[in-house]
């Protein structure tokens, strides 16, 4: 009798497997072509210089739209506290220039907890980025218990007044804990996108997350390096199959930016290694400019680790020329994000005053190239 039941179960399993194989579509592993950014007339605007009254405002990210963009950050008494919500400012460009909305709480812990499937407690929120596969969607770092080591990434569908539906991504057998996001997604030729994420417990490592057409996680690859603590991968595609990932070393002592590369569209990543570029254990932002050129915003000056500098590489990241410096003036400028806007301008956001506020600039590549701090690294 037992054997008969087990044979029946095996038949059910084989039928399910055949069904899954028939309906599953293989993932494309070729990066979408990089949009070349034209230099344009030199322009630079500061759109936001915000300072919080609550305590900390940190980790701003840029969400692009056809008519402009918005910037979203987490704000509360301090990071990982039970009073942190996500705030947003929208920017639209009209004939008279840029217009900004008032900062407002866009995603609260309570609202995202109610939108969760299944409904659950959310005690604090962290780094959040745009879900570029869905209009208005977000990937939010959520914590239900404990601190960042217990964080999960939730895919959030937004409605007019806040989160409509949210679901934690299935990324780790450790209850999906200790997974966070920081950097923007990367597009593939089939229209899908990959999400750079990272695991922040024990042997830290970067993750490269792919999704099936039904929005569920369908593949995860790793970026790891023995003896290193690589987190917050910032991935820049160079052509259809090659890309470079810049990673923060969580270990403050080494003081170097980390790097990993892929030559097969992200299916495998080289062992993470140190570069010669100084880094005070802080994430960097980077943007492909086309033809192997990369723009980077990083705290890469060992004499002034609080300053944020804009550098351009003309040889796929092998060497860099510094073009502009944003001075920290005694407090750290951190967590930069760079995004290309629809009109070809470049938006830069970062936190200033050691997490006391958020600053947003919009510039053209022509303006950056015209700046001449001019030191190669």
């Amino acid at each position: 009798m037992t054997a008969l039941i087990i044979f029946a179960l095996m038949a059910v399993s084989m039928a399910l497997t055949l069904w899954c194989l028939r309906r599953s579509k293989p993932l494309a592993w070729e990066f979408a072509p990089v949009t070349e950014i034209a230099a344009g007339h030199p322009e630079f605007d500061t759109l936001l210089d915000y300072e919080t009254r609550l305590g900390q405002a940190h980790s701003p990210s840029i969400l692009t739209r056809a008519d402009g963009f918005s910037v979203l950050w987490f704000e509360g008494s301090a990071e990982a506290q039970a009073d942190v919500d996500l705030y947003e400012v929208s920017f639209a460009r009209g004939p008279e220039g840029w217009r900004a909305s008032e900062p407002e709480a866009r995603v609260t812990r309570d609202a995202i907890g109610r939108a969760m499937e299944p409904g659950q407690l959310v005690v604090t929120l962290g780094n959040t980025i745009e879900d570029e596969e869905r209009d208005g969607g977000l990937f939010a770092t959520v914590v239900s218990v404990g601190g960042w080591a217990m964080a999960s990434v939730a895919r959030v569908a937004m409605g007019a007044t806040g989160p409509r539906r949210a679901e934690k991504l299935s990324l780790s057998p450790m209850l999906n804990r200790s997974i966070l996001v920081k950097s923007p997604m990367v597009a593939y030729t089939d229209g899908s996108r990959a999400l750079p994420a990272y695991f922040e417990m024990g042997q830290m490592h970067g993750l490269w997350v792919r999704f099936a057409p039904d929005n569920r996680v369908s593949d995860v690859r790793r970026m790891d390096g023995p003896g290193l603590k690589p987190i917050q991968p910032m991935v820049v595609p160079l052509d259809g199959h090659r890309a470079v990932a810049f990673l923060r070393d969580f270990d403050v002592g080494r003081g170097r930016l980390l790097i990993s590369q892929t030559g097969d569209g992200g299916q495998s990543w080289s062992a993470v290694r140190e570069t010669a570029i100084f880094n005070p254990s802080a994430p960097v932002a980077a943007l492909p400019l086309g033809a192997g050129r990369i723009l980077m915003a990083a705290n890469d000056d060992p004499g002034a680790p609080d300053d944020l500098r804009l550098s351009i590489s003309g040889d796929e990241g092998e060497s860099w020329t510094v073009h502009h410096r944003f001075a920290g003036e005694g407090a750290a400028l951190r967590y930069p994000m760079l995004r290309r806007l629809e009109d070809g301008r470049i938006a830069l956001s970062y936190s200033h005053g050691t997490k006391r506020g958020v600053r947003v600039h919009v510039m053209t590549l022509g303006w950056i190239e015209a700046q001449s701090e001019g030191r190669g690294t």
């Binding site: 095996m10 399993s13 084989m14 497997t17 194989l21 659950q120 407690l121 780790s172 042997q203 996680v217």
Partner: protein, 187 residues
């Protein structure tokens, strides 16, 4: 769909917890009834409470393995003859599972460069693993193992809950559960 199913899972676990508590004062049959009433009441009446939402947040993804083991435990206590039909758990097999599972978790945390967890996203490897567990059940006369493997595959195929099959058939709470079971057998 994953929301209601998770509440059912948590309800079963709460029932089992109630059953274990009531077993101190009453017969097994009464303890099962009282436990099921407690679990159902908790999920029905306190679904939006801090307790249940916190429990879901801590346990998620719950998976099918813990509820099935809880149900099995209650059934074999009330109907002792059921063990002969379903097959028991061999101590060495439990030890091998515990060591293998801890190694699996450690690999997923980056201790080794290779981890088996991503195989749980793909139909082919999942199908092979389920059939392998069915064969183990066939050889050992243990029916619960194939039931868990195939039930997990059903939930995974129907896209209810996690997109990784391992999350349906394993749960980190199995580590203390199996460890306590092994220690109690040694004592």
């Amino acid at each position: 769909m994953s929301g209601p199913v998770t509440y059912v899972y948590v309800g079963v676990l709460a029932s089992w917890l109630g059953y274990v508590l009531f077993l101190q004062w009453t017969e097994a049959e009464m303890a099962v009834v009282a436990g099921v009433l407690l679990g159902a009441g908790l999920i029905q009446g306190l679904r939006n409470s801090m307790v249940v939402r916190g429990l879901v947040a801590v346990l998620e993804p719950v998976g099918i393995v813990l509820p099935l083991l809880a149900l099995w435990h209650m059934v074999v206590t009330v109907v002792p003859g059921a063990v002969a039909w379903t097959g028991g758990w061999n101590g060495w097999a439990l030890l091998a599972f515990l060591l293998g599972y801890v190694a699996f978790l450690a690999a997923s945390m980056g201790v080794t460069r290779v981890t088996a967890y991503p195989l749980g996203y793909r139909a082919g490897p999942v199908g092979i693993m389920v059939l392998a567990l069915c064969l183990v059940g066939l050889v050992t006369g243990q029916i619960l193992l194939p039931v868990i493997a195939v039930a997990g595959q059903v939930m995974w195929t129907l896209r209810i809950g996690s997109s990784n099959w391992f999350d349906h058939v394993l749960h980190v709470l199995l580590v203390p559960v199996v460890a306590v079971e092994l220690i109690s057998r040694v004592l």
